[in-house]
């Protein structure tokens, strides 16, 4: 095998490793575009979309149900909105599966989309016409994160400090490794158990802090253990 071929093989392996651990797209937006044809007789989406039989669907993600200006909703939809129904990946999915189960009394005469993949693809297509997180960071996600389950033997996990060192680079954008505290507390040289307990409290939202809930929420038990092991070694 030539050197070049070996290197491209390495590149392929690297790509595969990445895909295996990548976040999941909501669905296939191209397929969703085709599926949207069955909505088109009542709903418009995209540039210059306006309200027709149904409201336009631009910017639907993150919007309160029944809140498009200038559209006359059914009483049922007005009630759903005032009770706090918002459109996100999950609520749109449930609604598309069985509209009358989510908003009883809706005038939308659509029986529902039974196939989960179809719904995911349609939602992926619709997501492209709502605010982009690149421009408005608080807008709805565009992919599903890999979920992490809690392990009962969390404190038993021996963390790998080398992996912890890499993960710790994410913490160090805010927490200083010299232990200085100018508004964000020091996290070095903690007993490992204390560190693990604190991180799991953030992960499960037993302790409230939006940044830490987000950071801890995406860490696996092994990753928290690795971080605890690494930070415990710093002085």
């Amino acid at each position: 095998m030539t050197l070049l071929a070996r290197f491209s093989l390495v590149a392929v392996v690297a790509c595969l490793a990445q895909v295996a651990t990548a976040a999941e797209e909501i669905g296939d937006a191209e397929r969703g575009e085709a599926l949207f044809r069955q909505c088109q007789s009542c709903h418009q989406i995209g540039p210059d979309a306006t309200n027709r039989v149904g409201p336009h669907l631009n910017g639907v993600f993150g919007r309160t149900a029944g809140s498009v200006e200038g559209f006359r909703y059914s009483k049922a939809f007005e009630r759903a909105g005032s009770k706090g129904l918002e459109w996100h990946i999950d609520t749109l999915g449930s609604f598309l599966e069985n509209p009358k189960a989510i908003v009883p009394g809706t005038r939308m005469s659509y029986r529902g989309m039974a196939d989960a993949q179809d719904r995911a693809d349609l939602i992926a297509y619709m997501r492209d016409f709502s605010a982009s997180p690149a421009n408005i960071p608080e807008s709805d996600p565009t992919a599903r994160a890999v979920s992490h389950d809690l392990d009962p033997a969390i404190l038993e996990i021996q963390g790998d400090p080398a992996y912890g060192e890499y993960l710790a680079s994410e913490c160090q954008t805010c927490h200083r490794v010299d232990g200085q505290d100018s508004g964000i507390p020091s996290i070095i040289a903690w007993p490992e158990d204390d560190f693990v307990i604190a991180m799991h409290a953030y992960k499960t939202k037993a302790r409230e802090h939006p940044v830490m809930n987000m950071m801890a929420g995406r860490l696996s038990n092994e990753e928290i253990a690795a971080l605890a092991a690494y930070f415990a070694t710093l002085e």
Binding site: L3, R6, L9, V10, A11, V13, A14, C15, L16, A17, Q18, V19, A20, T21, A22, A23, E24, E25, A131, S132, P133, A134, N135, I136, P137, E138, S139, D140, P141, T142, A143, R144, A145, V146, H148, Y163, Y166, L167, S169, E170, Q172, T173, C174, H175, R176, V177, D178, Q180, D181, S182, G183, I184, P210, V211, M214, G217, R218, S220, E222, E223
Partner: protein, 423 residues
């Protein structure tokens, strides 16, 4: 993203395979692998520091940055508001050179020869690289605001790159006549720091409310919506009632012509005589990215797993200049991306372990004294792009204690990220 053993073994096997690279490199070239980093901001300085620090001298790192003291663009609005001194924003590259062994070259990169793998400097010198990191920040799209070009930036500053422009805008703000008019021409998407223009309006309003309370602020905005809009509008009503008017695209906010000689701003046919005009034009990747031939349109597309250019696997593009998907253009994002790129570069050049990429971002904004808000999200690579997988944002109606704590937290972040960039 779960880090499981299979993925770990996969990356370890890969790392072992690449281990041959530095020895082969040394045999062929008789030296250490070389990384050149163009741009010493949140992306470039972080990448240079992490590559140098974590490779323990196994990689030669050169950082090319024209300014000797780097003035951060982030937190510059707080200087306009009077909450920071100009010197608080300045950082030296001395520690990167002395403690991390980074070769800091104060010069402009003017050319990239991707075949020969060299970077040409304005001085005429040429630097070879094995991997190039481009982190050039932003430049402005010519002609995006009618009547404005770079020759007019003294009369109508952009103040959207840190440094002298920020000082100029501050001086103009302080010199405003009583009851004068401050106009901001806000940029179209996408641009550096989505909440930035609106935090700036808040800080200008804070300064004026203390020093020139009858002055007015007008924003001409081509965008329908912007980040933290509900929070800013609530804060403006609460702290600066009647001072700020925003003209959105429905009312011609996207149809603007400026006249820097007359100091007028024409918003959809209505001519406003202004005392200070802050023109924030449309943005594009820092010019060297286009010179290197790695841009498509205004930005440089990258692969989501390691920030390598889609045009050249030996070039990584970081921060504002890159088109990666869902991450906003921010210092925090650039810093986050730099760590992933640094890990990937060390893996390729020295065979060190490569872990799955993780990205995150948080942007804090100050609306008034001790009234801080934040927005953040986590990101993971999909096959197609860096995708957002979750987000949070401060809520309207939060109590003063929480807002003050959020502001304190932003102070801590500034201290943290600048230490992470400059050592």
């Amino acid at each position: 993203m779960t880090f499981n053993r299979r993925a770990f073994l996969g990356t370890s096997a890969m790392a072992a395979a690449v281990l041959a690279a530095p020895r082969l490199y040394a045999a062929a070239h008789g030296g250490k692998p070389k990384v050149v980093v163009i741009g010493g901001g949140a992306g470039g300085a972080t990448a240079a520091r992490y590559i140098a620090k974590d490779s323990d001298g196994a990689i030669d790192v050169t950082l090319i940055e024209p300014t000797r003291t780097y003035y951060t663009c982030f937190f510059s609005n707080l200087y306009l508001g009077g909450f920071k001194q100009y010197d608080d924003l300045g950082h030296s590259y001395g520690t990167l050179a002395s403690d991390y062994g980074v070769n800091v070259v104060h010069d402009y990169a003017v050319g990239v020869d991707r075949d020969a793998k060299t970077v040409t400097l304005a001085s005429g010198d040429s630097l070879p690289y094995d991997r190039l990191v481009l982190s050039p920040g932003i430049d402005f799209v010519a002609g995006s605001v009618a009547g404005w070009d770079v020759s007019a930036q003294n009369a109508m500053p952009h103040a959207y790159k840190g440094g002298s422009q920020t000082q100029l805008l501050k001086a103009q703000l302080e010199a405003m006549p009583e009851g004068g008019t401050f106009v901001m021409v806000a940029p179209p998407n996408p641009y550096r720091c989505p909440p930035g223009p609106y935090e700036r309006v808040s800080m200008v309003a804070w300064y004026l409310s203390q020093n020139n309370p009858t002055a007015k602020i007008i924003i001409a905005d081509p965008k329908e919506n912007f980040s933290k809009q509900g929070l800013f509008e609530e804060g403006w009503q609460k702290h600066y009632s009647g001072m700020i008017t925003r003209i959105g695209p429905d009312f011609g906010g996207g149809n603007v012509t400026v006249d820097p000689a007359a100091m007028t701003v024409d918003i959809d046919g209505e001519v406003i005589n202004a005392d200070v005009v802050n023109v924030i034009p449309a943005m594009k990747a820092g010019h060297i990215a286009a010179v290197a031939g790695v841009t498509d349109g205004n930005w440089a597309p990258v692969n989501p797993g390691d920030m390598t250019s889609k045009m050249d696997e030996n070039i990584h593009v970081l921060g504002d200049a890159s088109a990666q998907g869902d991450m906003p253009k921010s210092g925090f994002s650039a810093n986050s991306q730099a760590k992933v790129a640094a890990m990937s570069i060390r893996g390729a050049l020295t065979g060190s372990q490569v872990f799955p990429a993780k990205y995150s971002n948080t942007c804090w904004s100050l609306i008034a004294e001790n009234d801080g808000v934040k927005v953040g999200a986590s990101y993971e690579p999909t096959e197609e792009k860096i995708a957002s997988t979750g987000s949070f944002v401060s809520q309207t109606g939060e109590d003063a204690a929480l807002r003050e704590a959020t502001y304190q937290e932003s102070e801590g972040w500034y201290s943290g990220i600048t230490a992470d960039m400059f050592g």
